[in-house]
């Protein structure tokens, strides 16, 4: 080997080196990344895919709604102390500040083999990576007569914040003094474990001031309160005695819209004036339709290291749609946390790097027990490589000792910051 030869080989090696590295970068820049659903999971994923790629990844967000309406805090709209406008954020910062291509449309179908997405408007888009964050489907058929009762406007769910949230508030205010507001809860898992109990507090808070002879009847299919149990029960006893009645192991099976009668699996029929019945829930419709819901046909199993579906390669699923790890709630905060882990993993993979072997998730959930006082539950979830799941750290996390107005201030601080973190 002469010197020229050696230099030539070295140059070739360097060229290869540059090519190698450039190729990985090019993969990240060339990849079409489609994010389906602009909730806490999808919006955050779109934004952090841009941030973590130093604004080099091509990201498209597909979302049918013109603006984002937060489910967290929406029980305050039901109770009447806040308006929906206060919980609404625009999507356009994601395009203006972060260069995300936003398509206001819904997804009709996903062809995971061809790696294409068909929009409701008819257009077909190709993807290299899809992030699917479609929230939940309310399984209306799980309560007999619920579809008709909902169509007739007799029963409302208001479990996706929007027009129904305001309509439920109106139903509550039109209740006669001495009337009953029935709120039913399906068996866990469902979206937002403490949400129904918070709603009961908000309705009771209104009734206490305006229709004090009225009652809130909680019909819970579960054995006991599924989240913040001791805290809620204390509040019900101290602040809403004689107004909130809690009935565990009451599984609603049917509703008669005409007579406003609720049928239960075991107990006698119950009549109520306002019927807020929450049916069982499953992964968002598009996830189920695409065959991703491979856990009992309801939830999507994912590899927790990168939130890739176990059913389809290159489809990452976030938020309420997934089959959760132990002690992992279906919450907006958790969906935002999922999104960041998935975004970092996708950027790593497309760059040709090893995926972060030790991702971390957090959850924080504030519940208002009246207009100002709040209780929280919080947790930290570290990835366990041996068991390929997330586990809460022993000794960490926990609950508030009691409701406080300080946490009421923090709850709004949380809301404004997570809205900005997801959409700002």
């Amino acid at each position: 080997m002469d010197r020229r030869h050696f230099i030539g080989q070295s140059a070739a090696a360097l060229g290869l080196l540059a090519g190698f590295s450039g190729q990985a970068r090019a993969n990240l820049q060339k990849a079409e990344i489609l994010v389906i659903g602009g909730g806490y999971g999808g919006a955050t994923a779109a934004k952090y895919l841009r941030l973590f790629s130093n604004n080099t990844a091509k990201v498209t967000l597909i979302e049918p709604n013109a603006s984002f309406i937060s489910c967290p805090m929406s029980n305050l709209v039901v109770g009447g102390s806040r308006t929906l406008a206060e919980l609404t954020s625009p999507y356009d910062n994601l395009s203006k500040r972060h260069g995300i291509n936003i398509i206001q449309d819904s997804v009709a179908s996903i062809d995971a083999d061809k790696k294409t997405v068909k929009l409701a408007s008819g257009k077909t888009l190709r993807y290299d990576k899809a992030v699917v964050s479609p929230g939940i489907t309310l399984m209306m058929d799980s309560i007999e007569g619920l579809v008709q009762a909902n169509k007739a406007g007799v029963t409302l769910q208001a479990w996706k914040a929007g027009a129904e949230t305001v309509a439920l508030h109106k139903q509550m205010t039109s209740i006669r003094d001495g009337g009953t507001f029935a709120l039913s809860i399906p068996e866990a898992p469902y979206r937002c474990p403490p949400g129904p109990y918070e709603r009961a507090c908000q309705v009771a808070n209104y009734l206490k001031k305006n229709k004090p002879k009225s009652k809130v009847l909680i019909l819970d299919a579960n054995q006991d309160v599924t989240s913040k149990g001791a805290l809620f029960k204390k509040v019900w006893a101290e602040q809403y005695s004689g107004i909130i009645e809690y009935l565990p192991k009451h599984n609603v099976t049917a509703v008669d819209a005409k007579t406003k009668t609720i049928k239960l699996e075991v107990q006698d029929d119950i009549k109520a004036d306002v019927l807020n019945l929450l049916p069982a829930m499953s992964a968002g419709e598009i996830a189920v339709k695409t065959g991703l819901a491979n856990s009992n046909g309801r939830w999507v199993n994912v590899n927790f290291i990168n939130f890739e579906s176990t059913a389809q390669k290159d489809i990452h699923v976030l938020g309420d749609s997934i089959q959760v790890a132990p002690a992992m709630p279906k919450s907006g905060h958790m969906a935002n946390s999922h999104a960041k882990v998935a975004a970092a993993a996708i950027v790593a993979e497309l760059s040709g790097w090893e995926i972060n072997p030790a991702p971390v998730l957090t959850n924080t959930c504030y519940s208002f027990v009246n207009e100002r006082e709040v209780v929280h539950v919080a947790s930290v979830h570290q990835y366990n490589a041996a068991e390929k799941t997330f586990k809460t750290v022993p000794g960490s996390g926990g609950l508030s000792p009691a409701p406080s107005t300080l946490e009421g201030v923090y709850a709004w601080g949380w809301a404004h910051n997570i809205w900005a973190d997801s959409l700002g």
Binding site: F20, T364, A378, V380, S400, S404
Partner: protein, 110 residues
């Protein structure tokens, strides 16, 4: 001279062999490691804002006025129980000391 060339050739071959992996691996490790650090610090953003820049006057304590050193001191005080709070003592206990240090380095005032 011949021996010298041979030496170069061996070194060169070694270099070529390594260069397929080693320097690139080092480069990617630095970038990847930076990404992991950013994603760890992003677990704070839900409450304290993207990159630790919180929404002003929203009600949540602002953290980006702290230096990395000050932030780490506070995080460790929350973890040990020396500093009381609502959520932070519970969350800080979920992170290793090394993770808290990474977070403080990422989010502290530069």
């Amino acid at each position: 001279m011949r021996e010298k060339y041979l030496k170069s050739a061996i070194l060169g071959a070694l270099y070529i062999g390594l260069s397929h992996w080693s320097p690139y691996a080092l480069a990617q490790n630095a970038d990847a490691s930076n990404l992991y650090k950013r994603s760890l610090a992003a677990t704070c953003a839900n409450c304290h804002g993207t990159d630790g820049i919180g929404v002003p006057n929203a009600g949540m304590p602002i953290i980006n006025n702290l230096t990395s050193e000050q932030m780490l001191t506070q995080l460790k005080a929350f973890k040990s129980g020396a500093r009381e709070g609502t959520i932070m003592p519970q969350l800080a206990k979920g992170y290793s000391d090394e993770q808290l240090e990474t977070i403080a380095n990422q989010l502290g005032k530069k």
